[in-house]
């Protein structure tokens, strides 16, 4: 599917929702549901920005069957829906084929919902889990999560006289998911629609669990203007802060290598207010270097893994 075809497709995700102008999340929802409009789907949604902004009773943005249960159980809930489908199909009560999608933010996925996700992945339910990762608890106004990157200032990891933002590394959800030996895991970005669409399609077509982690900038937490969201998403890719890759049956596939055009992490950090304290009043070279070194090391590891898997496939 090219972008022209994509533009005219049924989205099943309708306007009128209350998300902020420039928010990455509705782009994620619309892209996933647009690809999913080839199928009958049921969506489960963790508590979070996506859920609260799209289903303010008596309105709903969702043109597909949709359920929000609680915060930490989108995966367990969809596993129940998928099990119901299997049972009802076996008993002849339902004829149509269905696909199942669960959405959660990084809070509902990396943190409070990790157990529920892990259980559903291990049990092997046939569903696609999409995490829109905005790197913080945004439904409660911008606290740190385990997806918040090193050095970022949030309301619960603020920059002050002693501490300079978050002092822990971001958890690696893609690898945690892959460690469940599931058939398909990928990282995607809203800055690369073609890649994103391809991955949604693959996730939906894969039999068994698949996990798609999409970096989804938040204008409030990241302190961006709405028109900066796409560019910052692109910088996340070009600095290798957010590499685009897939793990198919345990094999790593790199989808994009900036090569010599790989940009320094400063370029990703600088436009974002959450890193402001690292640049003003004076540049905190130590923290920026620590982040750069980690990104470089992780990028080399990922490349080596992908090269190895390519040679041995």
């Amino acid at each position: 599917m090219n972008l022209k075809e994509y533009a005219v497709r049924e989205k099943n995700f309708y306007s009128g929702h209350r998300s902020c102008a420039g928010c990455g999340m509705p782009i994620v929802a619309r892209t996933v549901l647009s690809v999913a409009s080839d199928y009958n789907v049921v969506v489960s949604n963790a508590t979070g920005c996506m859920e609260v902004t799209t289903t303010i009773y008596p309105e709903s943005s969702w043109g597909v069957p949709w359920i929000h249960n609680t915060f930490e159980n989108a995966a367990a809930t969809i596993s129940g829906v998928e099990s119901a489908y299997k049972a009802l199909k076996r008993k002849g009560k339902i004829k149509k084929p269905y696909k199942f999608i669960a959405f959660g933010g990084d809070g509902g996925t990396y943190d409070i919902g990790l157990q529920s996700l892990s259980g559903a992945l291990e049990r092997g339910h046939d569903f696609l889990y999409v995490c829109y990762d905005n790197e913080g608890y945004m439904n409660t106004g911008g606290q740190r999560s385990s997806a918040t990157p090193y050095g970022a200032s949030t309301t619960t990891s603020p920059s002050g006289r002693v501490h300079k933002g978050k002092e822990q590394w971001k958890k690696d959800l893609a690898r945690i998911s892959a460690a469940h030996h599931i058939p398909y895991v990928a990282q995607a970005s809203i800055a690369n629609w073609a890649d994103f669409i391809k991955k949604v399609k693959k996730g939906l077509e894969t039999e068994g669990p698949s996990v798609l982690v999409v970096l989804s900038p938040c204008i409030l937490l990241w302190h961006l203007k709405p028109d900066q969201v796409r560019d910052v998403s692109q910088l996340a890719i070009d600095t290798c802060f957010w590499p685009l890759y897939e793990i198919v049956d345990g094999k790593y596939i790199l989808n994009y290598d900036p090569g010599k055009r790989k940009k320094p992490i400063e370029e990703f950090m600088k436009p974002q207010g959450r890193y402001k304290h690292l640049f003003k009043p004076k540049k905190n070279k130590e923290i920026i270097k620590r982040v750069q070194d980690k990104i470089d090391a992780d990028w080399q590891t990922l490349k080596r893994q992908a090269d190895f898997d390519k040679q041995n496939s």
Binding site: V42, S44, E51, V52, T55, I56, Y57, P58, S60, W62, G63, V64, P65, W66, I67, H68, N69, T70, E72, N73, A76, T77, I78, S79, G80, V81, E82, S83, A84, Y85, K86, A87, L88, R90, K91, K93, I94, Y98, Q115, S116, S118, G119, A120, E122, R123
Partner: protein, 406 residues
């Protein structure tokens, strides 16, 4: 038991109802419930083991493994996910069940409320066990009592036979079009769940005809138009939605007797909201739920032989609670003792509190007794002693305790 020595398969049931029964066999309360689940053959069961509920999920897993049910069994990683998965399954249009105990129920508490809020007719046997801390695997009612305001219908069972029949009854209550509420069926941990008694099982086809098929009003998979479940409701709508839940409980109270009567016509047993045991002319009565009711009945019989006018009111349906009925039944009894197997710390214990509410201007003396926490035994001698005290009317106000060292 060899075939030669075995009694007729259904000799334990009333002869005119024998045709509805398959067999009578020794079963624990947990196994009796798993037999009910086998006969119900739910579309989805998601469950997590916890003492003393474990035998329910184990035996049901065996039914799945042996192909005796067509259920999709989801072996979840926690009770929280058990309730989450059955909420998903029930919203999808399936008949869904789980079972739990104690801290398992506490862990799923958040989703227990979501289930009733979404008006999902989930049925859940609960084997009563104390809540931590201190950790204790034995019986008391602190788990289900902590859920009494969670919007679930609650049925309490005296013995394995009742636990079995209540589970079947619960499906009809939950799925009634005017009710659409989840139901929990309580039985006492170990005392009922692990003690083996003769249980008479209905024929599978009798159970299946009684429960019928689930006809969801809205569902994720069976509705023609897409439905949004679990939306956000702000102050402009939330209150009305909750009012409907309260109305559904009122409907449960309204329809309960009719549904129970239908089951009675098959089993020959009765399921009154409150069972009266030699209560009519009683001068002293105890009020209890679950297995203690059985022990009390034995003491009542003995004391009656001695000419002492004692009786029992057994509560079966605790949510919704029929205040006017309990008031009518207790109005003329001078001294009433209410047994609670849990505290409501700093306030009147749960059952006592309801009885006081039902008898606001009564001449009866109503006394509170807390007993049996963490599996502490309740002996016949203690019940007798309590009756004697009640007959004399010499009991202190406030919470009294049975079997407590202090």
């Amino acid at each position: 038991m060899t075939k030669k020595n075995s009694k007729s398969k259904t000799e334990f049931v009333k002869p005119s109802f024998a045709k509805h029964y398959e067999t009578t066999k020794p079963l624990s309360g947990a196994y009796a419930v798993s037999e009910a689940m086998r006969q119900i053959d739910p579309d989805v069961v998601a469950a997590y083991p916890i003492t003393p509920q474990t035998p329910i999920v184990e035996r049901f897993s065996q039914f799945v493994a042996d192909g005796k049910v067509k259920t999709e069994f989801v072996p979840v990683e926690s009770e929280h996910s058990a309730m989450s998965a059955v909420v998903g399954a029930s919203a999808a249009g399936a008949r869904a069940m789980t079972a739990t105990s104690s801290v398992g129920l506490a862990l799923m508490f958040e989703v227990v409320n979501a289930a009733s809020g979404m008006r999902l007719p989930i049925v859940m046997p609960v084997v009563n066990r104390a809540l931590s801390s201190p950790i204790n695997i034995h019986c008391d009612h602190s788990d289900t009592m902590a859920c009494r305001d969670a919007g679930w219908i609650q049925l309490y069972s005296e013995n394995p036979q009742e636990a079995y029949e209540h589970t079947i009854l619960a499906i009809r209550l939950a799925e009634h079009k005017d009710i659409q509420l989840p139901v929990m069926i309580a039985q006492d941990g170990f005392i009922t769940s692990h003690a083996v008694e003769n249980v008479s099982l209905l024929k599978d086809k009798v159970v299946r005809k009684f429960i019928g098929k689930r006809k969801p009003i809205h569902s994720l998979l069976l509705s023609k138009k897409p439905v949004t479940f679990g939306a956000l409701e702000l102050p402009d709508y939330f209150f009305e939605t909750k009012r409907q839940q309260q109305y559904a409980m009122e409907m449960a109270l309204k329809h309960y007797d009719n549904i129970a009567k239908e089951l009675s016509e098959l089993t020959g047993n009765n399921y009154p909201m409150f069972e009266q045991y030699r209560l009519g002319d009683a001068e002293a009565a105890l009020i209890a739920l679950n297995s203690s009711a059985g022990t009390i009945k034995k003491v009542v019989d003995e004391m009656r032989k001695e000419g002492k006018k004692v009786g029992l009111l057994k509560i079966r349906l605790f949510r919704p609670f029929n205040y006017s009925q309990v008031s009518t039944l207790l109005r003329k009894i001078p001294n009433i003792g209410v047994l609670d197997r849990s505290y409501s710390f700093g306030a009147n214990p749960p059952v006592y509190s309801e009885i006081l509410s039902a008898l606001p201007s009564s001449k009866s003396n109503v006394f509170s007794f807390v007993y049996g926490l963490g599996g502490r035994e309740l002996y016949e001698s203690q019940i007798r002693e309590t009756f004697e005290k009640l007959l004399k009317g010499k009991i202190k106000k406030g919470i009294n305790h049975i079997g407590l060292r202090e």
